[in-house]
Amino acid sequence: MNPGAAPPRGGRFEPRVAARRRAGVRFKWLCRFAVAFAVASLLVLLVHILATGLPTLSPDFLVTFPSRFPDRAGIRSAILGSLWLLTLVAAMSFPLGVGAAVYLEEYAPRNRLTNLLQTNIANLAGVPSIVYGLLGLAVFVRFLSLERSLLAGAATLSLLVLPLVIIAAREAIRAVPDSLREAAYALGATRWQAIRHHVLPAALPGILSGTILALSRAGGETAPLLIIGALTFIAFDPVSVMDPFTVLPIQIFNWTADPREEFHALAAGAIVVLLGVLLLMNAAAILIRNRYER
């Protein structure tokens, strides 16, 4: 090197390793802080809910009807309503969602119309849930005169979770190897026979776990049901799909919106039950997926 030469433009390269390392350490701690914030939020939320809600949980709380008096109120009608609603949503969204997925994966030609159908489903998954509530209010409650019935609520929520079921079912069907279909065709099976006897059974675990996850979403939905008018005082067991109903999220909303502190504790108790149910559903979905995958 020629010591007399001018340094390169912009000054000599200074590695400044120590300073850069320090900046790196500071950044790492910043990121760690962010992760800690996220995890801590979850912990605080769960601990607060458990600490407030667990003391209100009792067998009585589960089997008595709601009441104006906090010490006598329970979630019987909410639990029954949620069970009815989820059963109906499953009965509607499962066949429709799987049917649409089968069409898209097995029947649909590759053309612009099919493309449009796919884009449409992706967009439906992003529509705010409250908008589904408005759709349900105008179509099911008013136009079809289903009033504030279980049927109207289930139909609304079915439309809401349908895109999720379709997307999950398509993934499961797509994962079935083509060799299975071709083997069936080679033996003279028709398209429907190949689907019915080979594709669907092979895809079933994936479809089921996706559907359960979609149902757990439906089980926690509040806004669309509020819009269709499900915020009513229910002190009887529903016996038909035309009965008015309440569900756990609605009961939680109702008690949380009450200014009296005692009702907040009841809301926390109902939340513990709701989260317990949703957790079980999610666990079932994961179990099915892990057990039957491959």
């Binding site: 607060h48 066949p95 049917g99 992003g126 408005l134 926390a268």
Partner: protein, 295 residues
């Protein structure tokens, strides 16, 4: 093929097509319902008053249907939520993708998934019963209903979405880019912030836009925690009303079909639908472009 199986083939094909068509029907239903009711609304209220009016008083005389206070409430809470969710979500994504050990990931990722799976009404309860009392103890000026509590909790709620989508984007950045930078002597910090984040930017931007859309569409937290006072304000300690909270409040009143009250619901709904649709489409385009760059 026997006649019977040929018939069955036809029928099943048609049934499946019908199921697929139902999703189109849903979209058509949403658009038709929102549009027809809104048309009725706009025959009573001028679109100019709706879009530019600064007073929202649909029930009390003199009635006034300016949506700006609702938009103000929506954007105020969304902005507050994004202030929490975007930096924390992105930093979490960077940490998970560039720094975290397998063990840390095994703990943090399920925690984020649980956060993402908690129903919104539970977040609403959390805002009312836990966050608001603390906020009021720290800021005595804060009301029982205030925008800050809702904004903070909505931020926590959309954080998992930001972090998981951003992490997907960062993980999709090819390893070769990182290794090239390391071989030139860059530190991990420099690789993360100057190589990986810029390369993942379209995906990160897509996750940010989706977060905006989610924050605007969020209903239960804002209804429970932010109150029902349509107001032009930037003060997070005051009660505000968002578009979604208005829709809930008004629908609880059980307005009969054909009345202005009923139609107002759908006009606000249409506005909300169009905003979120535009944001979702934008986000999808960004993700599409990102997939082209890093397939």
């Amino acid at each position: 093929m026997s006649l019977r199986s040929r018939v069955v083939e036809r029928v099943m094909g048609a049934l499946f097509l019908g199921c697929g068509a139902l999703s189109v029907l849903t979209t058509v239903g949403i658009v038709v319902v929102l549009a027809t009711q809104s048309l009725g609304f706009f025959s009573d209220v001028s679109p100019l008053e709706f879009l530019a009016g600064a007073r929202w008083s649909p029930d009390l005389a003199p009635r006034s249907f300016g949506i700006l206070p609702l938009l103000n409430g929506t954007l105020l809470i969304a902005a507050g939520a994004l202030l929490v969710a975007l930096p924390v979500g992105l930093a979490t994504a960077v940490y998970l993708s560039e720094y975290a050990s397998r063990r840390t990931k095994r703990i943090v990722k399920p925690a984020l998934e649980i956060l993402a799976g908690i129903p919104t009404v539970v977040y609403g309860y959390f805002a009312v019963a836990f966050v608001t009392p603390i906020l009021r103890a720290v800021f005595p000026a804060a009301g029982v209903f205030n925008a800050a509590s809702a904004a903070l909790v909505v931020g926590i709620m959309i954080l998992p979405m930001v972090s998981s989508l951003s992490e997907d984007a960062l993980s999709a950045v090819p390893r070769s880019l990182r290794e090239a930078a390391y071989s030139l002597g860059a530190t991990r910090f420099e690789v993360s912030t100057r190589i990986v984040v810029p390369a993942g930017l379209p995906g990160i931007a897509a996750s940010f836009i989706l977060a905006v859309s989610r924050a605007i569409a969020e209903t239960m937290v804002v209804t429970l925690a932010a109150g029902a006072t349509p107001r032009m304000t930037l003060d997070l300690l005051e009660s505000v009303q968002t578009m979604t909270a208005y829709i809930v409040q008004a629908s609880l009143g059980d307005a009969p079909s054909g009345t202005v009250e009923y139609r107002t619901l759908f006009a606000v709904g249409l506005f909300l639908f169009l905003i979120t649709l535009a944001l979702n489409l934008l986000s999808q385009r960004l993700i599409g472009r990102f997939r082209e760059i890093h397939p």
